[in-house]
């Protein structure tokens, strides 16, 4: 399903947007762990990345090898136009729902 974005997928896309040029496996994983305080495996992350790529929200390319990685190349991820649209749709839906909420959602 092309337009649908899961909660975790949205999180990954936004993280990639935050990391911009530096978005590859390890950085994405670490950022999610710190910011969202979520424990997850590299396998789970890469599976999500692969699915997002299949849906056309991500493109990837291989970068330069670094010594820290044992001379292996990084796979960088970039979000696509359709990902931006999907994120926007998601945000406006949320905003609308927030605004129209009949209950006061503010805490504290």
């Amino acid at each position: 399903m092309k337009g649908y974005l899961g909660e975790f997928e949205e999180l990954v896309l936004l993280t990639i947007a935050n990391l911009a040029e530096e978005a590859y496996g390890t950085t994405i994983l670490e950022m999610i762990e710190q910011q969202a305080n979520r424990k997850m495996s590299l396998g789970a992350l890469h599976s999500t990345l692969t699915r997002l790529e299949e849906k056309g929200f991500l493109v990837s390319y291989l970068g330069e090898p670094t010594a820290k990685r044992g001379g292996r190349r990084k796979r960088y991820f970039e979000i696509t136009q359709s990902a931006k649209e999907a994120l926007n749709n998601m945000k406006s839906l949320r905003d609308e729902l927030w605004q129209n909420s009949k209950i006061n959602l503010s805490v504290g």
Partner: protein, 868 residues
Amino acid sequence: MHKAPKLATKLFHWASGQAQNEDLLGDLQELYEDKLESKGEFRARLFYWLEVIKLSFSYALRKRKKDRSFSNYYSGQKLNTMILNYIKISIRNIKKQKLFTGLNVFGLALGMSVALLCLAMVSDLKQFDRFHQDSEDIYRITTKLTTSGDRNHFASSPPALAELLRNSTQQITNSAVINDHFFPTIKSLGEPIQMYGYYTEPSFLELFDFKLQRGNANVIDNPRSVIITHELAEKLFNSTDVIGKTVETERDGIFEIGGVLAPFPQRTHFKFDLLANISGTNRGNNIGAAGWTDFSGNYFYFKSEASKGDLETMVGNLGQSGQAFFDLESSQASYHIQAITEINPGPNYSDRIGVIFGYDGLLYFIGVSLMVLIPACFNYINMAIANTLNRTKEIGIRKIIGSPNKFIIRQFLVETIIVCIISLLLSTVLFNLIKGEFTSMLVGAEALTFEMTPLVIIMFLGFAILTGLVTGVLPALYLARIAPISAINNRTSNKKVSISGFRKGLLVFQFILSLSFMIGIGVVLRQYSHTITYDPGFAKENRIILPLESNNVAVLQNELQAINGVEDISFSSNIPGLPLNKTNYFYSDDLTDSILVREVYISEEFIDKMNLKMVWGESQLSNIQFEQVLVNEKLLSLLNNIENNPQDSLIRQLADKQVQIVGIVADYNHEPLNERIEPMVMRLNESAYNYAIIELNGVNGDATLANIEAAWNKLQPESQFQPRYLESIVAQSYDFMFTAMKIFGFLALISITISSLGLLGMVVYSTENRRKEVAIRKILGANAMTLFGNLSGMFLKLWLIALLIAIPGAYFFYDNLFVNIYNKFSGGVHFAEVFVSSLLTIIIGLSAIFWQSRRIIRINPAENLRND
């Protein structure tokens, strides 16, 4: 950089297969470094391991592997297109390699032909007795008898049990008792016709779907009425409108025909010419002990909707009441139920009725067909692997483009299946040629129709595809294993010049088979000429056999005797040299048992005129006080009191008649040589003569024959004159040996062809692998002959091994076989057939090597070396 756990990395590489995993490993490495700093080595290693395992099973890796295995040129989803593509490429390849395909198709077709016969036979047998209405519900009772440890299973059952079953249960909706001890000999022109009949009751025709064309079933309630088959009516009267006509039999009196059956399907185990009333004879007796223990030849068929298990229990319980009678004979009887559809193919019971093809015979046949088929399949494998060199480039290019192994495997499987289907076409032609021969040599095989129904065609196709799959899997796996780089460089992984021991063993096995079959042809040929030239003990030259019609022997004798050129005339009931079908029981006071003797009726002159030798007594018979008979030495040897007691009156009993032995004839082969000499009694009886034996003086036979014909036509104007020379009749009776020769010839042809093909495959393999060696040898100055010798060395060794096994094996096998079949034995395997068959195999082998090595030797050596 720190070293991540090595084993885990290796595991990950293995799990990734061909998928790209560089970036994933890089990520893992980075994370490992981080963990190493924050958590220490142990935790970091544990973490690394866990991550590797999770990643190995992740969707990410699965997806990458899947992407990797399909290039843009192959889409795994479109299997139909691929199969069309496989077929297209296969057909191109087959066209390209006409020689290889031709050899393979021919070999496989030969190999499959016998298997097709086997398959068609099994499918035919499965149809047996299915044409009866509700055939699944028709059963018969079989009897298992245990006498002092000896177990025997009979197809027959006690008639008393049948009666009991009929009276005590409602579950049986229809039933019929049958007794098959009914062999009337119908008198007709010349030769009496031996018939097979069943004593049964009218319900037989209700239980089974044998339809009446004329008359009705109840006529066999009358003991003197019979129902005959359509075929018999045609044979006897040339018409089926025969109700009310009579047939005269030799022993069973005169029967009136009360009904004619319509032609019925051949696929039934019943085999009969006529049906008669069962209670009209004493054989329907079912009271007391005789009804239980004397059950030979009595069968009970019934229809019931109850389950087989229930019926078996019920019959078992009822059978208890007869056990007392079996106890007297210290045996134990138990009863079983057999569905009529399970009779063919089925177990081999004793005392069987009709045509049964047992499991063991069928297994033997399957064995023979596999023995022919398997070498043919191995040949294909051999040749396909030998032919690898021509295919490696294709495989290399396909792999580089991105074809996974399974595509290459599928390609070769499809190719093999196509070859098998082409072979099937040729094989079906062969099958149609041999099935006639096959039915003519198998007892009861006329019941097999070998009809090409859609089911049979589908089975044949399925068989060809299965053969293709089984045969193709080995070469396909072998070829798919070739690495693309070495394939494109034309460097196969297996550069061995030698051929594996298994394949050598196979070739030896094939040589042994063809040698034995070829020796077999020689042995049968020798046996045939031996039987023809063997002196059977009676004179067969210059003698004419005339079938007699009327019994006016004296008149005929007088007429013919007057003809110039006729030496003598004698009469007999049977032609000497042919089987004797009359038997009788001979009783002697000194023996408790009767002796089963062959009976032949002769005229007084017969002994003299056939040049038979007398051991004792006189050859003249008369019929004054007692019937006087002659016996042969064989019968004499079974009587033990004659020599001890010279005053013995020599009065014995034959059947229910007193006879006097007046002479003893030296043993001679009245029957064909494959029968042993049996006890024989010769009797005088004018009315029993069927043939006149006319001795000619050997001068101007044709003129004499013309004179005899004139005399015959005067005496018997309405009947045909059919003289035959005794010599040719005797020779014709051995025609069955030609069938044996044909079988051996066919099997020899098949196995010789297959083994030559196998040899060729191996020769091609080893010469192709030796291209370079041959080129270097040639440059160094070797000539064609030394190279040829070099290549044929291996073959000669294998051939010698085959000879060492085959020759003693053939001696042993044929000597035993022929001693069992023929009592006059030519001496079995001789040097000539061994020599000829060895010579033939070696000529075939050497010419295959010569052909291939000439091909390779003629190539310019520079050419061969430059290519590498």
